[in-house]
Structure formats: structure tokens, C-alpha cells
Symmetry: C7
Subunit: 75 residues, 7 copies
């Protein structure tokens, strides 16, 4: 059985909408434009959400990897 | 007596359901799809749990290693 | 499809106004003059903002990368 | 006088029951199955304890090294 | 257009008065005598300030880089 | 004048009783059996103290370096 | 103009009394006996101070670098 690595999952999510949860409890949703091995991430058409409501729209946002807890593709 | 390494235990849990507890006190359960030496982890059919109840279903979730406290296979 | 890296997004924002949010919840806005792989950042014509109001003007400010959560170009 | 290194003490505790205290104040007890230089640890027949009572039984648990404060063999 | 790096900004501030803000919310002002790639910093004629008042005078102070949030030249 | 390094001080304390203070405010006292460059430490005949009283006896305890603030030989 | 590095300032303070402030808000004063590039520090004739009063005398104390915020020579 072929063994996948965690960054493969991020690669599959490229150009798709993902939800990114941060250590400071904020949540960003946007199209995953780029990531690197530090899990630094860039989202396009990004918005910050609070309790599932849009708190503000950001366009492009760079998120520093060490601030991130989870990244999940929107289904 | 053969000596095992911690990542061997994660390798044995691959494709099985595991519970992942995070530093921010949240708990994720899902099938362990991938991990790396930073303990970055990807779960499939994942859900976040709170007090043993399902809080939300996530499908695939990437969890950054440095946010993780424990990973344990569901018995 | 060509794959971009997170620092490309910062490079595109060079000499443009960006908003930088920090782990200590403060927000700086200024022209992105320089950055490096640690995400250390230098802003020109910088100001610290609080609830969208200018809290103080700083001129040039060096921000240590590990204090940063997000960097987003002003639209 | 022969000088020992800290990991020697962990090696002597292999296959024995140890108590592991974490930065989040939780305590795990179990048989030390594996450890590495990051102090990532795997316990077998593990249980989480609270005020010396068993809080839950876990079977196998992987604990990320940077979450750990102390490891001590049960006497 | 020539691209500058963040440490260039610190180099330009050498021997000038800078304000250094720390993660523990304290603020130091002094003449920037030295810095390195970890952003360890030495100030001369330094003073700690609180609400823009001088809290105490320190002469020379070494500040560990990882305690620093921002460094800005006094205008 | 000969220049000493910090680990020399730990080496001089080997096999002697030391007090170890941790970031979580707990205090351990015991005979310093081993240490390494990460300041991982092993104490023998160890006890945890609270307000100078013995809180519990531990025998051997491994303490992860990054949890440690100070180590001082008992006079 | 000759450019100094931060560790030069510590070297000049060797064998002199310094005040060391920690991230946990405690303060140690003593003669700087040794330091290294991690800013691990050893003080002799050390005492912990609280509000400028001596809280306890320690003799020799090893302080782990990552616990330190500032080091300043007593004038």
C-alpha cells in the first residue's frame, strides 16, 4: 500500500477552498494558493470567520506556519 | 530484545482510527492517513469531538505537529 | 499550472501597503520594505492600529517573524 | 567515574512502568515502549490519571516530546 | 529596484536611538549598539519605559532576540 | 583569565544535590546524575518540593531541558 | 566604525555583577561567571530579588537561555 505524506494532502487541496484554524482561535477560509514545509500558507479570496459568520474579507492573506493548528478542505 | 522507535507506533496505526489531542484542548478522531517526523498528521473521515460528542465532521484534516500532545489508536 | 510559494505572495506585496497582525493582538499597517525567510519584516510609513483607529505612527518598524500571525496586502 | 547521559536513564526504564507529566498538567502512566532524541515517547497499557485516580485507559499512546515535563520510573 | 533585507533596517539604526517592544509588554529605549541574526540586541544609555514615562535607567542592556516583538528607530 | 562555559558549572555539580526550578513553577531536588546540551537532566533520590516541603518522592526523574528555568547546587 | 556583536557586551560583563530578568518575571543578580551562544548563563554569589529585596541567596545558579529576557550590568 502506497504511503502518503502530510504535505500530499495540502498539495491535493491546492486551488481549492480550505479552512485554516489558528492557535489564537481565529479561523480563515480561502482558496489555498501556496504552502511550504514550514506550513506557511497563502490564501486567496480569503475571509476571516467568527462563529461561521464572515468577520472581514481580506483578499490575499499570508499565514505564518507556526500560528496554524489545522487545515481542512471544505467539502 | 528488539528496540522500537516512537514513529513505529504511528506507522502501525496507519489506516486505523486514532484520537489526536491538541495543546488547545481540542480532540480529533479519524483514520490516520499520513504523518511525518515533525508529527504533522493527516486524518481522513475526521471529526472534532467535545466531551465524547461529535462537534463537527471535517472529512480530511491536516494537523500541524507542534499543536499535538498525544496520538492514540482507538481500541 | 505553475505552483507558487508563500514567499512569492510577500514578494508581490513589496513596496505596497500591508496589514500585519501579531500574536500579541496588535496590528501594524505600512509599506512592506523588506522580509526574509524567518518572516522578519520591515514596514515604512508604519502605524499601529487599534479597532481601525491609528494608535501611533512609527515611521520604520522592524517586526520579528515569530511574533507574526498574518500579513495581508491592503486592497 | 563513568558519566551517564540523560537518555541512558530512559533506556534503563524501557519496558518498565513510568509516569509521564505533561505541560498541560495531565499525567500518563504506562510501560515505556519507545522514545527518541526529541523525547517523543510511546507507552503501552497506558492510562491517564487525575489526582492518582485512573481517568481513562488508552492502550497505546504516542506523546509528543515537546509536551513533556518529566518522566519517572514507578518504584 | 534594489531589494533590501530586514537586517539592513537594523544596520541603518545602529548608534541611533531605538524603541524595543517585548513579548512581556515592556518597552526599552536606547542607542542600538549591537544586534545579530537571532535579533539579540544590545542597547546603550537604555531605559525601561512605562506609559511613556521612564521606569528605570539601565545603562547597557542585552535583550534576548526571542523576547522581542518590534524595533523602531526614534524619529 | 581562563573562561568557563555554563555546562562546566553543571559538570561540577554532578553527583551533588541540586535544586531544579521549572517553567510550570514546580521545584525538584535531587542528586544530579546526568545532563546534556539540551539541558535535559536526570536526578536521583529526587523529590518534588512545594513551599520547601516535600510534596512527593520520585527516585529517578528525567526532566526535559526546555521545561527548566534554573539549576542550582544546594550549598 | 568598528561593529560590535551582542555577545561582546556579555563578554565585557564577565566577572562583574549583572541583573538577569526572566520570562517568568523573576530577577536574579550575581557575578556573571559564564555564558554561551544560547545565552545559557551561570551566576556566582547569586540572589533572587523581588521588588529590589533579596528573596533568597543561591550561591551558584545556572539559568537556561530561553528563560531569559534581559541581562544588564549593575552600574
Amino acid at each position: 500500500m502506497e504511503q502518503s505524506r502530510p504535505l500530499d494532502a495540502l498539495n491535493s487541496a491546492r486551488h481549492k477552498r480550505v479552512m485554516v484554524e489558528l492557535k489564537n482561535n481565529s479561523t480563515f477560509v480561502g482558496k489555498l494558493k501556496a504552502f511550504d514545509i514550514h506550513i506557511n500558507v497563502v490564501l486567496e479570496e480569503a475571509e476571516e470567520r467568527e462563529n461561521n459568520d464572515v468577520k472581514r474579507k481580506l483578499g490575499i492573506v499570508f499565514i505564518r506556519g507556526d500560528a496554524i493548528v489545522t487545515i481542512s478542505p471544505e467539502e
